[in-house]
Amino acid sequence: MARQKPEPVQIVKQRRDAALGALVGGVPYIRYLGIQFERHGDELTAVLPFEEKLIGNPLLPALHGGVTAAFLETTGIITLSWSYLWEDIESGKLDPDTLTKGDLPRLPKTIDFTVDYLRSGLPRDAYARARVTRSGRRYASVQVEAWQDHRDRPMAQATAHFLMPRP
């Protein structure tokens, strides 16, 4: 029996990027903070480009702790939603075109969010990655870490719990 020919790489990339773009681009607050997502396969890295309006302590200067928290929370929700929707995106059950039109599926809701500040946020770009430690039918646990210049010197870390949308 002949094996099925693999999908052309540009088709795969286009589908995944369109789905991610729709997921992120539909949220005004993500746009307001200027957060972008880079994708390598299914791995996401969030990027927060520095802007003057993100400053929380003008004397140091340092990023606002609330901005850091919001950046971590956004990274957590998008990464969790992304892993939750991945199979439907890949199977074609979820059409990127309907997503782009703003018809987003229901997303997880934050139950609680705990952030530890490890270093003051410098006035430059920040990065974050999340790891879904458990994704159940009703609840999910997610860990998030943010850093700036050095990946092994995190500026903040967070643990969050989410209520999963009903299928």
């Binding site: 539909g26 702790g65 950046f71 934050t110 609680d112 969010f113 705990t114």
Partner: protein
């Protein structure tokens, strides 16, 4: 003395670029208590289908308000920074409503200030979110 401290804290908070960007207004401050209001803004929407504000914006408001409460405490010399903050989200804030945070610095040592905070929309009987955290005590 305490009135001066409240004034300094108010001026400092109002100088913060990100607090300004979110149009935060201090409505009450002094003796370890602070209240800050943030108007509804479409740029802060987290769920485009319902218009509900993003949790991150509520976190930012509570973090700012908690910092203000620490700075206004009689035993706090000057500045502060967040060490840790835990936020529990009770319900979605009503779209269109301003969000008000109330924070209390209920204990302070030479190095650490402990806070509790709540956030409300127009319904002050049912908080949107609650928070607890630890802040640094700077400048001693």
């Amino acid at each position: 003395m305490t009135a001066d401290k409240a004034l300094i804290a108010k001026q400092f908070i109002e100088m913060i670029p990100h607090a300004k960007a979110l149009s935060m207004q201090i409505t009450n401050i002094g003796d370890g208590l602070a209240e800050i209001t943030m108007p509804y803004d479409e740029a802060l929407i987290g769920d485009p289908k319902t218009g509900v504000i993003h949790g991150g914006a509520v976190s930012t408001l509570m973090d700012t308000c908690s910092g203000a409460a620490v700075m206004s405490h009689p035993d706090s010399p000057a500045g502060t920074a967040t060490i840790n903050l835990r936020i529990d989200y009770m319900r979605a804030a009503k779209p269109g409503d301003a969000i008000t945070a109330q924070a209390e610095c209920y204990h302070i040592t030479r190095n650490v200030a402990f806070i509790r905070a709540k956030a409300f929309d127009a319904d002050f009987d049912n908080p949107v979110a609650t928070a607890a955290g630890a802040f640094t005590v700077e400048g001693k």
